[in-house]
């Protein structure tokens, strides 16, 4: 301003020139590109998430309901000793009461088969009912009890009652090798195939034709029909009576021994018969059993005794060998205990360490080293902590295997760096002016931290802690190594009892062969995700509610 004259600035740049406008255009294009990349990335992430959750819901929703049958049970006083209610033969009571729905079933073996429709757990459910209501002995009670896994799956429509008897290859082979070569004919409404058989004198003696090995003769004939295709399916193409047909033919004309019968019509097996009649041959689903079981099940459906209410068992039962009985309660309690231990160890330790490092420790090489190591600790794969827990807690200190105590200790190793880092960040976010204000009126360092800094940092600390806990809740590998994937059918009563946790329960279920566990696994994942969402929701709520703008 003190300058005497200011020369008008020389025009050094023409803002309207084509190069200039092109540059501006390029800049805007770059802006737009960046936005598009971001939107694309977010869309991809949402799609992946939606696919994950969608597939889990699709495969898991059926586990949230259980198929049940409402059955009248006659609590036969002859079978239940009033003084020893626990040890009565409930198996027989269940069997007899259920069999009343099927008066036509009288064969004992079929009665046993019939019982397989209900879950094996039913007798224990009934026992618990009678123990709780001893006055009902001698009466008939209506109880809604779960079906066994195959019928549960059948009722939910997860598995079909009948399967295709023939695979598409088998059908195609019949079509190409027999039908298209004109070897198939209908005789009296029965599908027959023409086959050449050599009546091998080595297999049939003229003295005793009936004792001849016509089965082997038939198989040779089949082999000749399908050269180079020695697969089991080709033999199943012919009916069991085919060998008998050959035999009858030879008995009728013994001179055929040693010669080849050409174009002999033999019956094909029923499945191919059906196929040739233009229908799709079906067989009963072997998971369910045979035609009897299907008929019984249809009877139950017609009686209107089946229902599929919400499966409280999923949340109240512990693990079981039977998927319809397996629940998550044991895993939830185990996870809760483990997380409690984890919290009790890592929260005070983490905060103390962070407060010391952030507020008290001198900044020197040692504290730098500690800081680097804590940050590295957060990046250590969790299985390493599991191995550490196995080596130290179990082998060295001899703590019990599969115990939530050890699980919690291992998980706290994982959570500790997360909490320390989150706490330090939260402490750093408290403005120095607050510290100065407190120091300025004569608060000691300890008072500054305890009265001002820590309370202000608490929402951030809690957020970090909850996220650390959520991470610990989902952690599987370390728990596997300390045996928390054991098969345990009751919820733990304490920190030292063997238990499972949610992620390890998912792991064990995903490994189980029963069809019902597929849905159970997805349902367990959904429950675990639910817990994680709730925990993260709390963290977000805390952050929103108590976040302070400086």
């Amino acid at each position: 301003m003190t300058d005497t004259t200011v020369a008008a600035p020389e025009k050094i740049h023409d803002w309207a020139s084509p190069t200039s406008t092109a540059r501006v255009r390029r800049r805007y294009a770059a802006d737009r590109r960046l936005q598009i990349y971001g939107i694309a990335a977010i869309t991809a992430a949402i799609l992946v998430l939606a696919t994950l959750v969608g597939s889990l819901v699709l495969s898991g929703y059926s586990a949230f309901v259980t198929s049940k049958a409402t059955v009248e049970f006659y609590l036969d006083p002859n079978l239940i000793d009033k003084d020893d209610i626990n040890n009565a033969n409930y198996r027989k009571i269940v069997g007899d009461s259920f069999a009343k729905l099927f008066p036509e079933v009288t064969v004992p073996r079929q009665k046993t088969e019939l019982q397989k429709i209900l879950s094996t757990e039913v007798r224990f459910t009934l026992r618990d009912y009678v123990v709780a209501n001893p006055d009902k002995i001698g009466q008939t009670v209506r109880l809604t009890v779960p079906l066994s896994d195959p019928f549960d799956q059948l009722y939910k429509g997860v598995i079909p009652a009948r399967l295709n008897a023939l695979s598409s290859q088998e059908a195609a082979r019949f079509e190409n090798r027999l039908k298209n070569r004109g070897l198939v004919e209908m005789v009296d409404g029965r599908t027959m195939a023409k086959i050449n058989v050599y009546i091998d004198p080595a297999k049939v003696s003229a003295d005793d034709i009936a004792a001849g090995n016509f089965q082997a003769i038939l198989l040779e004939g089949i082999d000749a029909l399908f050269p180079g295709q020695r697969v089991a399916g080709i033999y199943a193409m012919f009916d069991d009576s085919a060998a008998e047909v050959i035999k009858q033919r030879v008995i009728a004309n013994p001179t055929l021994i040693g010669s080849t019968i050409e174009g002999l019509s033999v019956p094909v097996s029923p499945a191919y018969d059906t196929l040739n009649k233009g229908e799709i041959p079906k067989i009963p689903n072997p998971r369910v059993g045979g035609e009897n079981e299907i008929a019984w099940f249809e009877r139950l459906q017609n009686l209107n005794v089946l229902s599929s209410p919400f499966s409280t068992e999923l949340f109240t039962n512990a693990d079981s060998r039977f998927p319809e009985q397996a629940g998550l309660w044991g895993a939830i309690v185990g996870s809760f205990y483990a997380l409690l231990i984890c919290f009790l160890i890592s929260f005070p330790t983490g905060i103390s360490a962070a407060v010391y490092l952030e507020e008290f420790a001198p900044k020197n090489r040692w504290t730098d080293l500690i800081e680097v190591n804590i940050n590295n600790l957060a990046a250590v794969p969790s299985i390493v902590f599991g191995l550490l827990g196995l080596a130290v807690f179990l082998n060295f200190f001899g703590l019990p295997r599969s115990a939530p105590l050890v699980g919690g200790m291992v998980l706290s190793l994982l959570t500790l760096p997360t909490i320390i880092i989150a706490t330090r960040a939260a402490l750093k976010a408290v403005p120095p002016s607050i510290r100065q204000a407190a120091l300025g009126i004569g608060a000691s360092k300890h008072q500054v931290v305890m009265h001002h800094v820590l309370p202000l940092a608490m929402p951030g600390i809690l957020t970090g802690t909850i996220i650390g806990m959520a991470q610990a809740l989902g952690e599987t590998a370390p728990l596997l190594l300390i045996g928390m994937n054991a098969f345990i059918t009751s919820a733990p009563d304490g920190f030292l009892q063997a238990a499972t946790a949610l992620p390890t329960q998912i792991y064990s279920w995903s490994d189980s062969p029963e069809r019902g566990f597929v849905a159970r696994t997805s349902a367990a994942i959904l429950v675990l995700l639910g817990f994680l969402v709730i925990m993260n929701g709390i963290a977000i709520f805390l952050r929103q509610r108590f976040e302070r703008k400086w």
Partner: protein
């Protein structure tokens, strides 16, 4: 006093400085015949290897406002922070020399810095009330120092301090609302109330008005004028008008050296050193 603030800055270079005008009738009205409350002798401060302050000798009298002026980075804030040992909280800061309060060496091992800070209160540049209620803000100091025997005692101290800080009438209906909800000027007065609640002998103010608007500034300045009846006040300020208006003694710092100190009226009307003259007339700074 209000009018002087609106004075045109373009007069900067004129012979009669606005600061001299601001002195007005106050010039020479107060002599500093009080006993020095705080004395600094040969005070040097080092931040690591860098020396920030060189052999400062300064007396700060009781019942008077001492203003520390000087360009940015001249060491006046550093000096202020020596007076309540706030420099102790900075890593690598080292203070040599001798500072006394009523004859007691504040750097002697016998003195606890925490207790010293109760005797030497501090008000910061940016109002920094605790994110608590107004009552809790003021009550915090007395509470941690055990100054109140009972709840009524504590309430009395709080009300008293708020009254002294000229805030009580404005906040008496909302003592239990957040202190951070007040306006900037009110927050700063709350900080002053918080400082005087522990009955300090000295109040240090580090640019207390630099974050405030002129009206709030005027209120704080009035408050300072009242407070000096009872306290030794040391204020760091960038505003030379403010120094002229509120202080009885002024010390001019430049590049870590105390260039000149004396009665405010003398410093602003008849400085001995050319650098002081240049600074207060706005030739640099």
């Amino acid at each position: 006093m209000m009018q002087t603030q609106s004075m045109d800055v373009s007069q900067k270079a004129s012979e009669m400085t606005p600061f001299q005008a601001a002195l007005g009738d106050k010039a020479g009205a107060h002599s500093t015949d009080h006993e020095a409350m705080m004395r600094a002798r040969q005070v040097s401060v080092f931040y690591g290897a860098k020396q920030a302050l060189f052999d400062v000798n300064l007396d700060m009298p009781a019942k008077a406002v001492t203003a520390l002026i000087g360009p940015s980075g001249c060491g006046k804030s550093t000096f202020l922070r020596c007076l309540n040992r706030m420099n102790d909280t900075i890593d690598g800061a080292r203070v040599t020399g001798n500072i006394t309060i009523e004859g007691d060496d504040i750097y002697s091992p016998a003195v606890d810095p925490v207790q010293l800070r109760a005797r030497v209160g501090m008000v910061f540049q940016k109002p920094n009330p605790f994110p608590k209620t107004i009552f809790e803000n003021v009550a915090y100091g007395p509470r941690i120092h055990g100054l109140a025997k009972s709840k009524t005692d504590l309430e009395e101290i709080v009300v008293n301090s708020l009254q002294k800080a000229g805030l009580f009438n404005e906040v008496k209906d909302r003592l239990h609302e957040a202190g951070t909800g007040l306006s900037g000027g009110q927050q700063q007065r709350l900080c002053i109330a918080r400082a005087i609640a522990v009955s300090p002998e000295v109040i240090l103010m580090d640019e207390p008005c630099s974050a405030l608007d002129p009206i709030a500034t005027a209120k704080i300045e009035e408050l300072m004028d009242e407070l000096r009846q009872n306290y030794c006040i040391v204020i760091v300020t960038h505003s030379m008008q403010q120094a002229a208006r509120v202080s009885q003694r002024t010390a001019f710092f430049h590049l870590g050296i105390l260039v000149e100190e004396g009665e405010t009226s003398v410093i602003f009307t008849n400085p001995k050193d050319n650098r002081t003259q240049d600074y207060i007339t706005g030739r640099f700074g």
